[in-house]
């Protein structure tokens, strides 16, 4: 028996999984991707005086990690409001 006041837990969870997967894809790309696997290709370019792939491995990936977590916090807050979970 589906009640109208009951929240759409399944829809919410699907949206959470979609968000989590896309953020993990970025997480993988900036560290394992840019810093390790495609490093040689990226090193053809420079950021300031550092080869780009090397810079991602030692500094850049960390900045992206921080941004990812705060975006996640914001996006989860939005999802919770959308599905009426806030409170």
């Amino acid at each position: 028996m589906q009640d109208k006041t009951e929240i759409d837990g399944k829809g919410y969870w699907r949206a959470v999984l979609r968000l989590t997967l896309s953020l993990l894809a970025i997480w993988f790309l900036v560290s394992y991707g840019a810093g390790i696997l495609f490093r040689d290709f990226l090193d053809q370019m420079n950021i300031g005086g550092a080869p780009l792939g090397f810079w991602f491995a030692q500094n850049g990936a960390i900045y992206v990690f921080v941004a990812l977590i705060f975006y996640y916090c914001w996006a989860m807050g939005r999802l919770e409001r959308k599905f009426g979970l806030k409170g």
Binding site: G9, S31, N59, F65, L68, E80
Partner: protein, 592 residues
């Protein structure tokens, strides 16, 4: 050194007094206070405490030096020890907080409706935490013996007393607020010298920007210059590594998933008010960690360059000689005297010079030196961070601050680990397994007793393990085991409803046994890298075994009965914040 000794004592006594003061102010009154600081810590404050909890003596003292020697190869620590927080924030922390219990074995025991699973999780937790804490206590002993002339064992003893006071009295509440103070001490001590070194080498005050700038007064980038200098001395290029891509990948993975599975990090997220606060807390923790972790590679590179510039090919001055007179004579002859900071730090044994060719000059060379000269210098990893203030010619009090910072890093991590050890024993082993009718008051007493015995055991372990001298090797254990045993079980427990008791027991046992055997075998029995599985080193083996542990857990679950309905309902509840409450309200409304 007289002046410096004064400042070192001054800062160490001042900070220790501060920690004890905080402990008295933040006494724990209940098990809830003792285990999770009353679930009531502000996310930003908890982020700061998590950063101090996470960054150990190794992060503070050794990492920059390690990167200075490894160059690009050091990236595994930078990415691994920060990327794990993304996994924590997205996959574990908010859900475990929503579950609302006290410890990691608590979650495993309840989610897998099994005392056996709980006890295995306790074993994993204790093993990981004791491995880790031995290194911290050793760090405390080294700091005291190296800088204050106190015997090593006494140094550990003093560290034990301080941690005892604030961990046993204050529990998680005391530990949280001391960790905040320790973070401030630590980050100040780390960044101030880094800014000055960056100014000296590149002319840029921000180390992260100096890292990608040109050498001061020159048209060549700092990293190009460094590559040129190190290859000229016969070392590998700084921006390259001798490790295989696969091994770099695996080590980074083991450190990331290991970070996410370390119990002393996970429990920090139990101290905040809600799942949402746990997410923000992970973000803040990484901000505070990134401050140090993005500075470290810059410090490493600057220190390597500076070390070569000032020490290589310098003329050595013996201890008995008058330093100023000899140095003036060397300069008059057009030579370069050994720097003052080198002579000061030589006494600690962190630097050593052996005049192999007997010419009185200190030659620093790599294995493939073009001029065929043998290397005569052995700097330790820790020297670069410690000697930074003097290299940058900062006043004596900055050195004192560095020592206090190193102690803060070691003590904050040790305290976090002690809390995990004591709660695993008092809560999971005693109250939930052996004496189920224990009341809250008795449990708090047992928790304090367990914390006290853990302090004692950790101190002995610190003394004992430093005599054996393989602390560095066993650190691979902590991360490998956390990645392969705890992470898969917690992750599947949240994201796969079908995961059952049998799967969890099989998965944790596989991760524990496989990782343990592999590391012991290749660290102590067969040291030949040619025999490694798929070419993955013991440091990185946690990653493939983590994947293996996921597969084992899922396969065994599918072959056995699904978990009971009420467990599946619990999983639904922790996925959707506030669901339990909302449903209860909805039912009230529809009730006649």
């Amino acid at each position: 050194m007289m002046d410096q000794d004064f400042w070192t004592y001054f800062f160490v006594v001042l900070t220790f007094g501060l920690y004890i003061g905080i402990a008295i102010w933040a006494r724990a009154g209940s098990t809830q206070d003792f285990y999770v600081a009353g679930h009531d810590v502000h996310p930003t404050i908890n982020g700061m405490a998590t950063a101090a909890d996470w960054m150990s003596a190794a992060s503070f003292l050794s990492m920059a030096g390690l990167i200075a020697f490894l160059g690009y190869g050091g990236s595994v620590y930078l990415m691994g020890w920060t990327g794990g927080f993304v996994l924590l924030a997205l996959l574990l922390a908010p859900f475990l907080r929503e579950f609302g219990k006290f410890t990691v074995p608590d979650f495993v025991g309840d989610r897998y409706y099994s005392t056996t699973a709980r006890v295995i999780a306790v074993v994993c937790t204790l093993f990981i935490s004791f491995t880790y804490i031995a290194g911290q206590m050793k760090g405390v002993g080294v700091a005291f013996s190296g800088f204050l002339g106190v015997p090593f064992e006494w140094g550990i003893g003093i560290g034990m007393v301080i941690v005892f006071i604030y961990a046993v009295l204050g529990g998680m509440k005391g530990v949280t607020y001391t960790q905040v103070a320790q973070y401030v001490v630590m980050i100040f001590a780390y960044t101030v010298p880094a800014i000055f070194i960056s100014l000296i080498i590149t002319g840029n005050a921000i180390p992260q920007l100096g890292f990608i700038s040109n050498v001061r007064g020159d048209d060549i980038s700092m990293l190009d210059k460094l590559n040129e200098v190190v290859t000229g001395l016969g070392f590998g290029a700084y921006t390259e590594t001798s490790k295989s891509k696969l091994d770099i990948f695996a080590i980074t993975g083991a450190l990331m998933f290991g970070t996410a599975g370390l119990p002393h990090v996970i429990v920090r997220f139990f101290t905040v008010r809600s799942a949402s606060a746990a997410r923000y807390s992970a973000g803040w923790a990484l901000v505070f960690i990134a401050l140090l972790y993005t500075t470290a590679p810059a410090v490493g590179a600057f220190a390597r360059l500076n070390f070569i510039n000032t020490v290589n090919d310098a003329t050595y001055i013996e201890d008995g000689e008058d330093y100023d007179a000899s140095a003036a004579a060397i300069v008059a002859e057009g030579g370069k005297p050994v720097p003052v900071w080198y002579k000061d730090w030589e006494k600690t044994g962190l630097l050593s010079f052996e005049d192999i060719n007997g010419d009185g000059i200190m030659q620093y060379r790599g294995p493939n030196a073009p001029d065929g000269i043998q290397n005569e210098l052995k700097p330790s990893n820790d020297i670069f961070v410690l000697a930074n203030p003097q290299i940058a010619q900062l006043p004596g009090w900055v050195v004192g601050l560095m020592v206090a910072g190193g102690l803060a890093a070691a003590l904050s991590t040790a305290a976090g680990l002690l809390m995990v050890i004591s709660s695993a024993v008092s809560h999971d082993l005693c109250r939930k397994t052996l004496f189920k009718d224990m009341n809250d008051k008795t449990e708090l007493m047992v928790a304090r007793g367990a914390a006290a015995s853990a302090v004692f055991a950790a101190g002995l372990l610190g003394i004992f393990s430093s005599q054996l001298g393989f602390v560095a090797q066993v650190v691979a254990f902590a991360f490998g085991l956390a990645a392969a045993s705890l992470f898969p079980t917690i992750f599947l427990g949240i994201f796969w409803k079908r995961m059952n008791r049998e799967g969890a027991i099989a998965s944790m046992t596989f991760g524990l046994v496989a990782t343990f055997s592999y590391i012991v075998y290749f660290k102590f029995v067969d040291l030949d890298p040619a025999h490694w599985l798929l070419g993955v080193s013991p440091e990185g083996i946690g990653f493939p075994f983590m994947l293996g542990s996921l597969v084992v857990g899922m396969a065994v679950s599918l072959m056995t009965a699904p978990p009971p309905q009420e467990i599946q309902d619990i999983v639904e509840d922790i996925r959707v914040p506030g669901l339990r409450r909302t449903l209860a309200v909805a039912q009230e409304h529809t009730a006649p």
